[in-house]
């Protein structure tokens, strides 16, 4: 078998696998190992999926609310309530004056009678209104501003100008509560980011711990492989692939779970929104979100595997 000429050259006269062949081989071996312990593999994947799906679902809901807020922001109006003493003709004239301003797109006058009709239509309290001696509702002017609604100083200036008009009782800006909603959503988003970060660490730890046990179980194999010339990279690779597969399938399952959760939530949310005459509905992850979750899962799996492999293989 031996010939003195090529002793000591382990690959003399042998063909080596290409890079792709090597990766495919390790991937196949790793997949076989995972399939050999289906319950353990599925549990690990499920833990990763749940850890990823929780923040993804919350994030999906908050993003939908933020989108809704943005669409409302575009429709934001300033409602100017007129004094009771101001008649409808004066109200219409004031609306025209306001509409002529550069910082106003449109101004629509709602007369007292119209206000009463709207009140009855929205509340159904027609008996209540009929029982009163006179219509208590003031006239109003609904104004569509022509300024950047995120420019709070400009909004304040416009509001001050409007209140300064004779016959104006007060000005109510829809934007205020929208700002509050956005502030709450930002707070929730920060909370989700913190929870997501903690759960991402949990994914890394889960993968790391699973692989640590795997490495302990395969300790002898690792040692023997190193004794016959395996590089750290060679020994590490199957574990990296295992972590990657855990993360990939965890991410994939998380994407599916998130889509399912959003779909399940969407029905009651849509029904609730319809009660307020809103077309609001939750938007799912979308193709990019779906892909992102899979990529994030895969990267977290790789990260967990890398950290564990460094600790257990490189330190030998």
């Amino acid at each position: 078998m031996n010939s003195a000429s090529n002793l000591g050259d382990p690959t003399a006269g042998l063909e080596q696998q290409s890079f792709v062949e090597r990766q495919v081989k390790v991937l196949k071996t790793t997949a076989s190992r995972l399939l050999a312990t289906p319950l353990g593999s599925c549990l690990t994947i499920a833990v990763i999926a749940i850890a990823l799906a929780l923040p993804a679902t919350f994030f999906s809901c908050v993003t939908s609310l933020q989108d809704l807020g943005l669409s409302w922001r575009g429709n934001t109006r300033i409602t100017v309530y007129l004094e009771q003493s101001l008649d409808d003709n004066a109200g219409t004239a004031l609306a025209q004056t306001i509409a002529a301003r550069d910082d106003v797109n449109a101004a629509v006058h709602i007369g007292k009678e119209q206000a009463a009709a709207d009140f009855v239509q929205w509340t159904g309290f027609d008996d209540l209104l009929a029982s009163l001696d006179e219509n208590p509702l003031p006239g109003a002017i609904v104004i569509e501003p022509a300024i950047d609604l995120s420019d709070e100083a400009a909004i304040e200036r416009l509001a001050d100008d409007l209140i300064a008009h004779d016959g104006v009782e007060s000005a109510d800006m829809d934007i205020r509560w929208l700002e509050r909603l956005n502030a709450v959503l930002r707070l929730i988003n920060t909370g989700i980011a913190i929870v997501a970060s903690l759960l991402a660490i949990a994914v890394v730890i889960t993968v790391g711990n699973t692989l640590r046990l795997d490495m302990q179980a395969r300790h002898e194999e690792i040692v023997v492989a190193q004794l016959v010339g395996a590089t750290d990279h060679f020994v590490q690779k199957p574990f990296m692939f295992t972590g990657m597969l855990y993360g990939f399938f965890g991410g994939l399952l998380a994407s599916i779970l998130t889509s399912l959760a959003v779909a399940l939530l969407n029905k009651p949310v849509t029904a609730l929104a319809a009660e307020y005459q809103s077309p609001f509905q939750l938007t799912g992850l979308g193709a990019s979100g779906f892909l992102l979750l899979v990529v994030v899962g895969t990267l977290l799996g790789l990260c967990g595997a890398w950290l564990t492999a460094r600790q257990h293989i490189y330190r030998r």
Binding site: L7, D9, G229
Partner: protein
């Protein structure tokens, strides 16, 4: 070539010196024994030669590698050029005989067809060609040791280092194993076998390095000179 110059090895935890001032030079293609009683330092010497441990002092050159200063990254390349037979075989019992023997070629990323060809040749050489698909636990102790030898030679190493390869075998099996080593040596492989079997050493009539308390008692090889 194997060269040890003023090599010493201390284990801080035990406090004692396992090897002290070892000077030997073993030329390419030689075959010989390392003998000595238990605790003489045989296994320590072989671990140093296999790059499993580093010396506390002195210089070790094996197969062109300076093991005193070898880096972690260079170790795999060195280990691919030597074959080591362990006293306890160190076979993987969840892999078949063929897969065990294939491991040194697997780590070199050799194609499956070539691995298969080399594994069959190695198993044929040790008389186990029909056991490629068997599991190690199905084999006798002697057969397992031969699988270990097949794994050590499948890479066509320049040097074979064997630590008590016949320790658990009867006389007949031990002679068979030694004959195998001799056959590998005949084609140019340097073979160094650690044993405490004095009878076998006498029978083989080969150079001996005898250790006692970590020091060289007799050296039938050469004395290493400073460079």
């Amino acid at each position: 070539m194997i060269r040890l110059f003023k090599v010493s090895k201390r284990y801080p935890e035990s406090g004692g010196a396992a090897l002290t001032n070892v000077n030997i030079e073993i030329p390419n293609g030689a075959m010989g024994f390392v003998t000595g009683h238990s605790g003489a330092g045989k296994s320590t010497l072989l671990k140093l030669l296999a790059g499993i441990e580093k010396p506390s002092g002195g210089e070790i050159d094996v197969a062109g590698f300076n093991l005193s200063s070898i880096s972690h990254a260079e170790l795999p390349d060195f280990r691919r050029r030597i074959g080591v037979v362990f006293q306890d075989n160190r076979l993987l019992f969840d892999r078949s005989v063929g897969e065990n023997v294939a491991l040194p070629l697997e780590v070199c990323n050799v194609r499956s067809e070539d691995i298969d060809r080399r594994v069959r040749a190695a198993l044929e050489k040790v008389g186990l060609s029909n056991f490629q698909d068997a599991m190690p636990q199905q084999l006798s102790t002697g057969e397992q040791q031969r699988v270990s030898i097949a794994r050590a030679v499948v890479n066509r190493p320049q040097i074979i280092i064997a630590d008590e390869p016949t320790g658990n075998l009867d006389r007949k099996l031990a002679q068979d194993i030694m004959r195998l080593f001799w056959e590998f040596n005949r084609v140019g492989t340097t073979v160094l076998v650690a044993t405490h079997d004095i009878d076998m050493v006498a029978q083989m009539e080969m150079p001996v390095l005898e250790l006692q308390n970590g020091k060289v008692l007799h050296n039938h090889f050469y004395e290493a000179a400073p460079r």
